[in-house]
């Protein structure tokens, strides 16, 4: 890859020679280095109402799309290129995509909520369609033929009656600006005059071009955010409070002053960092630094063993508005059979494969942060406000990094590096250590859920109660200047902490009487806590769905019904649907999953196997937004060890229009396995003052040995009219995470007759349950 010397988009147009050099590699390699050199600034926001902010076409008939998104590894950049190339009528391999750097791309917010295809690709498609319209008008003037007499293919306009008359997009606008204004009340509404194509006219959408970012990731040539090097740079490491809520009393700087390469200890409030010339020196100095901390007078939280008891008795910080259907109390009073169960899901960390990191450059009285933060625009605002700098003096250059999934929506390191760089006056590279990341990253909230269900005499589920408490108070924002960890440690407090949220189930079952309530609760320590919550891949969905879809299975068992048929009956009991046909599509995915798996209809549990290995299968389903997933897990449970192997997985997945089937399948596959890991292994373990699982031994994760023998992903389009021209794409990054926990619990029950209601299912817990349940 050839890094570009210049960075601003103005320069991108001017320095066409450089671009061509860079572009020759663009078909296979990303252009991530485009912003890495220092540009002078100021960094004025690109205007989303200008076509030139989105698309650059060069004289050699190549195009670059500038989008305000980041890619966490699902290949969204490739899909954007497909969609935009199709609308533009351009060859896919003549395009490239620049993402997420705040000075050269419009602010679409970066990544989050699986909105890439569902929401943010729409303005991209519309501006590409508008560019095509404008180019056809220019072609019409150039060729002396009306637009309706022109054909266009792969960026070449021809006169239909005389194809020898031709002009390329590059010849029309290459190296020049469009100067075309767009309209729209906000960036999501950005549009020109042109309309997007009916999906049936797409030629590239629906194919699976290989992800352009992969080659540079396997040959070592990609420059990641961790790889940024700048002249005069120094290295920093944090020194975190040894226990949660501790107060810094005194730093003994003499403990590190003589160390090689030592530059400075910087501290404010309870925030402490050391800065050294070399990385290993900073690591060493952070370890050597002696500091006195005062423990808090009261315990910051209960231990992870006592967490759920605490949550169930805590006074809620907020209550959701109850969702009420029918008259549940009356229905329960008349029920033939009532079942009750509680489900517990602990805090789970992101525990990204590599810790938070960023490089900040304070040159020219400005601040450039090189970061993998998936919400680079949020970080820019946060850094500017935190440092008291005007936003136009701050930019965030987005580069690739270890998985997003929400951790890098609030990555902390960017604000820290920027603060230290401003203090030191040199470029500072901040990187967290493993133990720090595992202890202090943002967490998915713990849930405890109480379920109650009532069957009538015919085994129909007539009444259902769902009530949960979620430990989600003061859920952090996106590197906000008053919630980012460095600000918290410095004693900055926002007047009203974020309320947090607690989810209710997301399915389309027709249950005549139901009540869903939820409460957010707080742990004693609200600020400066390693148990601060943030978004983790469908922030509350896996928790609520574990309870809801495990309990539906329990009701099916009570009704002696096949669990898939039990669900299907509740989906088909109603004929009403929403505008996205979610009920019809729910039925379609469940059918598709059952067919792909070869589901045999029978009640659970199955007759017990005799050997040490017990096998079973379980199903669960959920939607997220308009995307629906039904999953079937087949497990082997070792009766002697408690070890669970998820041997086979099936997911039937409906996210509407599929842009890149291979990239989608792999995303779904990995989303499922992410939840397999959360189901079997993941829990933030803590005593009453600190997180105690801080490396891969004490905080285990899924490994190669756990990989299923077979995974089938079935891409369903269950829309009653799948050929409608406006078939929308829905988000696909998170839905498949949701049903897996329950699918596995249901499979374990099918195999063993034992119901697991507490995540995770590590061998010791499963073994204890088997012994109690005499499986």
């Amino acid at each position: 890859m050839t890094p570009l010397a210049k960075t601003s988009r103005r320069d991108l147009l001017k320095s066409a020679g450089l671009l061509v050099v860079s572009f020759t590699a663009a078909g296979t390699k990303p252009l991530a280095a485009q912003s890495t050199a220092s540009a002078a600034g100021p960094y004025i926001d690109p205007d989303f109402k200008q076509l030139d902010s989105w698309i650059v076409i060069r004289e050699d008939n190549t195009a670059t799309f500038y989008v305000g998104k980041t890619d966490c590894g699902q290949g969204t950049g490739t899909s954007f290129r497909q969609l935009m190339a199709d609308e533009l009528d351009f060859a896919y391999d003549k395009t490239s995509c620049v993402m997420g750097s705040t000075d050269i791309t419009v602010d679409q917010g970066g990544s989050g909520g699986s909105t890439a295809m569902e929401r943010d690709a729409w303005p991209m498609r519309r501006v590409a369609a508008e560019a095509r319209r404008v180019l056809l008008e220019m072609g019409s003037s150039r060729l002396g033929a009306p637009v309706d007499q022109l054909a266009v293919r792969e960026g070449v306009i021809t006169v239909k009656s005389d194809p020898s008359k031709r002009v390329t997009y590059g010849e029309l606008v290459g190296g020049k600006k469009f100067h075309v204004a767009l309209t729209g009340a906000n960036i999501n509404a950005t549009t020109g005059v042109a309309k997007v194509k009916p999906v049936q006219e797409h030629k590239i959408v629906g194919l699976s071009p290989q992800r352009y970012d992969i080659p540079a990731k396997v040959d070592g040539s990609l420059k990641w955010a961790v790889d940024v090097k700048l002249p005069g740079m120094v290295h920093a490491r944090n020194v975190k409070p040894p226990v949660a809520g501790a107060k810094l009393i005194r730093i003994d700087e003499s403990s590190v002053k003589g160390l090689p390469g030592f530059i400075k200890v910087i501290s404010k409030g309870n925030y402490v960092a050391v800065v050294c010339e070399r990385e290993e020196q900073a690591i060493n100095a952070a370890r050597q630094l002696k500091a006195n901390w005062q423990k808090p007078a009261t315990a910051p939280f209960p231990s992870s063993e006592d967490l759920f008891k605490f949550m169930r008795s805590a006074a809620p910080t907020s209550n959701s508005k109850p969702i009420l259907v029918g008259d549940p109390d009356k229905a329960f009073a008349g029920a033939a059979k009532i079942v009750e169960a509680n489900y517990d899901i602990p805090f789970q960390g992101h525990t990204a494969i590599a810790p938070a990191h960023a490089m900040a450059d304070p040159s020219n009285g400005q601040m450039t942060v090189y970061s993998n933060d998936m919400k680079s625009y949020g970080m820019r605002r946060g850094v500017a406000e935190f440092l008291g700098m005007p936003p136009e003096k701050v930019r965030v250059v987005w580069m690739e990094g270890p998985q997003g999934y929400g951790r890098t929506a609030a990555d902390d390191a960017g604000c820290e590096a920027a603060y230290l760089a401003k203090e030191i006056g040199r470029p500072v590279r901040m990187q967290w250590m493993r133990s720090e990341e595992s202890a202090w990253d943002t967490k998915a909230p713990a849930f405890t859920v109480a379920m109650r269900g009532g069957l009538d005499a015919d085994g129909n589920l007539i009444a259902l109660d769902y009530n949960c408490q979620a430990a989600d108070y003061n859920h952090v924002g996106y590197n906000e200047a008053d919630t980012v960890l460095i600000a918290q440690l410095m004693g900055i407090r926002r007047a009203t902490p974020a309320a947090g949220s607690a989810a209710t189930p997301s399915e389309m079952y027709a249950i005549p009487h139901r009540r869903m309530t939820s409460q957010v609760v707080s742990l004693p320590l609200v600020w400066e806590t390693p148990l601060r919550t943030g978004n983790l891949r469908d922030p509350n969905g896996p928790q609520s769905t574990f309870a809801a879809e495990s309990f539906i299975d329990e009701m099916a068992v009570a009704a002696k019904a096949d669990p898939l048929e039990f669900r299907m009956k509740m989906l088909t009991a109603s004929t009403t649907d929403d505008s996205g046909f979610k009920r019809a599509r729910s039925i379609a995915v469940l059918k598709a999953a059952a067919e792909a798996y070869g589901w045999d209809r029978r009640p659970s549990p199955k007759p017990r196997d005799t050997g040490d290995i017990l096998t079973g299968r379980g199903v669960a389903y959920a939607f997220r937004g308009q995307t629906i997933a039904a999953e079937i897990a087949e497990v082997e449970v070792n009766r002697k060890t408690g070890h669970v192997w998820v041997k086979r997985l099936v997911c039937a997945h409906d996210c509407g229009l599929v842009v890149n089937p291979v990239a989608l399948r792999h995303t779904v596959e990995c989303a499922m396995l992410h939840s397999v890991s959360r189901t079997l292994y993941e829990e933030v373990q803590f005593d009453t003052e600190k997180v105690i699982g801080v490396d891969w031994t004490s905080s285990p994760t899924l490994t190669h040995a756990d990989a299923p023998a077979k995974i089938d992903v079935v891409l369903v389009n269950g829309d009653p009219n799948p050929n409608r021209p406006d078939l929308p794409p829905y988000g696909a990054g998170e839905t498949a995470c949701k049903p897996m926990l329950a699918a596995i619990a249901n499979a374990i029950h099918d195999a063993t007759g034992v119901r697991m209601r507490r995540i995770p299912f590590r061998p010791a817990r499963v073994l204890a349950a088997l012994q109690n349940g005499r499986a």
């Binding site: 966490c72 992800r211 992969i214 810790p355 493993r434 990239a663």
Partner: protein, 164 residues
């Protein structure tokens, strides 16, 4: 600090560092490589893996002064501009999600295939088991190793034919 000379991907580099410094930081910050990466600093995850004397070595816990032989990194796998069959298999199978761990996966798989060009599924799992991926691309990685194994077998058969 002391002067040490390292052979990295066939090129000699002299660095002036504390001899106890983990090799990883030297490779990244002095030699300027990007393949080996920091994940845990504890030898647990495998992101920092390099190959020394035919073994997969976790450079984050290997003092630089103990390294006497040639170090091969991800950047050193391609030969004459052609990707190693493993790297090609990673592209063909579209293995990565974020891709941050894939250095460790590929380098560990390289050591496996160098020793055992036709591993069974169980041998593949065993060989790469301690190399972690938090995007959970395990299923695709295992498929890619199998694919590379097939490619290597076909290549060596073709070479034998040429020799014969």
């Amino acid at each position: 600090m002391s002067n040490l000379t390292l052979n990295v991907n066939g090129k000699m580099h002299t660095v002036d560092v504390n001899p106890s410094t983990p090799l990883l930081y030297i490779l990244r910050n002095d030699v300027g490589l990007q393949g080996p990466r920091f994940g845990c600093g504890l030898g647990q995850c495998g992101l920092c893996t390099v190959i020394i004397n035919g073994a997969a070595v976790r450079s984050c816990i290997t003092p630089v002064s103990t390294v006497k032989s040639e170090i091969t990194t991800l950047e050193g796998l391609a030969k004459d501009g052609k990707l190693h069959p493993l790297q090609q298999a990673w592209i063909d199978e579209q293995v990565p999600q974020c891709g941050f761990c894939q250095n460790g996966q590929i380098m560990t798989a390289k050591v496996l295939l160098d020793k055992n060009p036709k591993p069974t599924d169980a041998q593949i799992r065993e060989a790469v088991n301690r190399t972690l991926c938090r995007c959970m691309t395990y299923y695709r990685i295992q498929a890619a190793i199998k694919r590379a194994s097939t490619t290597i077998a076909a290549q060596s058969a073709a070479e034998k034919e040429v020799v014969a």
